[in-house]
Symmetry: D2
Subunit: 147 residues, 4 copies
C-alpha cells in the first residue's frame, strides 16, 4: 500500500499493483479480545484490580476522552486525514485514542458486556433505525423518519 | 461455558468440563477492522461521510460517553459484574458502550490512525511507565515512580 | 438594549440611546451562590442528598456535557451567535448549559470548594501564565512561552 | 463562620455566635456576569476571540471536565467534604472546577445564552418535573412519575 498526499492534504492510499485508490484500513490484530486479555494481564501483574471497579474505569475513560478533546480544541474544523498535523501530533492522538479504547474494553469486561457481540447487535439496530433509502444524505435524528 | 451467580452477585464463569472458574472473555469477532469496515459501509450507504468529519465524530463520542455516565450516575459504587442491574439495564449499557466503540473506531479511521496497532504501542509504553515490580498494588501516577 | 441580526446572522446588540454596538451581557442575577442555595433547597425538599455524593454529581455533569455535545455534533463549524439555529434549538441549548451549571455548582458545594472565589484565583493564575504581551493572537499552550 | 472537622472528616460550619451548624455557602461575588466580563477582557487582550468559537470552547470544556474526572478516577466512592483529600488536592480540584466554569460561561456568551436567566428557567422546569411530594427519597427519572 502506498500513501500519497493529494486533494489538499487528504491521504489517498493507492494499491501498489493496480494504482487505484484504496480505502484506509486497520491491521486485523490485535482483536478486541486480545486487548481485553493483555489489559487483564497488565492489571493482574500490578495488583490493580482493586482500583479497576466500573465507575473508576468510567471516570478514567472520561479523562482520556478529555485528552482527545484537548488535541482538537483550538483548531477549528479539522479535515479528514488531518492534513495539517505534524507526525508528533498524530502520534499523540494515536496514544490518546488508544487510552480511550483500553479503558472502554476494560470497563466492558468488568461489566460483563461481550463488547464485540454488543457492537454487532447495536449496528443491526442502527441499520433498522436509519434505513438507507430514507435517510440518504441527511443527518436528522432517526425519530424524525418515523411514520 | 456456564455462568453462575455467586459471591454476592458476581458472575463466575465455570468451564463446563473442568468445573474450574474461568475469566470472562469476549467473542473473538468482530475485530476492530471488521467494525471499521461495517461502519464505513453503513456511512457510505447513507451518504453520511459529509457529516462524519473528525470533530463531529469526536463530539458524537462525547455524547455517547455522556449516555454511559447517565447509566451510572445515581448508583453510588457499582461492583464488578453489576450484580444489582436488571437484564434490561445491562442491555442498555451494552448499547451505549457499543456506540462509544463505533464512534471511536470511525474517528480513528477518519484521522488515519491504525487503532489496533496504536493500542499495541500504547500498551508497550504503559508497561515501561509502570513496571510491575515497582507499582504493585498502588495507583499512584507513574511520574511518582520516576527515580 | 435592542438586538438586531446583522453580519450574516450574528446578533449585534445596540444601545438604544447611542445606537452603538454593545457587547452581549448576562443578567446580574442569580449569582452562583443563589444557584447553590436554590439547588440545595431543591435537593433537600426531595430528600435527594443521599444520591448527591461527589462522584454521582460528577457523572451527572458528564452526562449533561454529553447532551450539549449532541446539540453540536453534526453541524460542522458553528459561528458565534449561532446564526442558523432555530429558537427551539437555542432554548434546548440553554437548558443543557444550565444543567451543566447546576451540577457544577452542586459538585463544588459538596466538595466544599467556594467556586466564585476559586474562579478568581484561577483567572489570576491564567493572567500570569499567558501574559498578554507574549501570547498576542497565538493559541500555543503557555508552556511554550516559558523562557 | 468557624469550620471544624467532625463526623469522620465532614466539614461542619458552625455559626460563631449561635454555635449551631451552618450550611457551607459560597461567596456572593464574582457573579456569573462578572466572570463573563473578566474572561471577555482576558480573551480580548490576547486577541484570542478568533480561537474561541463555540465548538472550540465546547471541546475545551470537555477537556476540563476530563481533568476533574482524573482527580476522582482511582478513589472509589468519595464522601461529601472530601475528608481524605490533602489541601493540595483540594486546590487542584478548585482549579479544574474553575476551568469548567470559565469555559461554560464563555461558551454561553458566544452562543448568546443568558446563562443566569437560563438556569432560573431550567430550575423552574425541574421543580415541575419532579414534584417534591411525589419523588421523596427516590432517584427514579421524572418520566417514571408521569401519570
Amino acid at each position: 500500500r502506498v500513501a500519497t498526499v493529494e486533494n489538499g492534504g487528504l491521504f489517498i492510499y493507492t494499491n501498489k499493483y493496480s494504482g487505484r485508490p484504496e480505502r484506509f484500513t486497520f491491521t486485523s490484530e490485535p482483536t478486541i479480545e486480545d486487548i481485553r486479555r493483555m489489559q487483564a494481564e497488565f492489571t493482574d501483574e500490578r495488583d490493580w484490580n482493586q482500583f479497576h471497579q466500573p465507575r473508576n474505569l468510567l471516570l478514567a475513560m472520561v479523562g482520556e476522552v478529555g485528552e482527545v478533546a484537548e488535541l482538537f480544541q483550538w483548531r477549528g474544523e479539522v479535515a479528514e486525514g488531518l492534513p495539517d498535523w505534524t507526525e508528533s501530533e498524530r502520534e499523540h492522538l494515536a496514544h490518546e485514542l488508544s487510552d480511550v479504547m483500553i479503558y472502554l474494553v476494560e470497563l466492558a469486561e468488568k461489566c460483563r458486556v461481550d463488547l464485540p457481540q454488543a457492537v454487532l447487535r447495536k449496528m443491526a439496530l442502527n441499520r433498522q433505525k436509519y434505513p438507507a433509502s430514507k435517510v440518504q444524505g441527511s443527518a436528522k435524528k432517526y425519530t424524525e423518519y418515523k411514520d
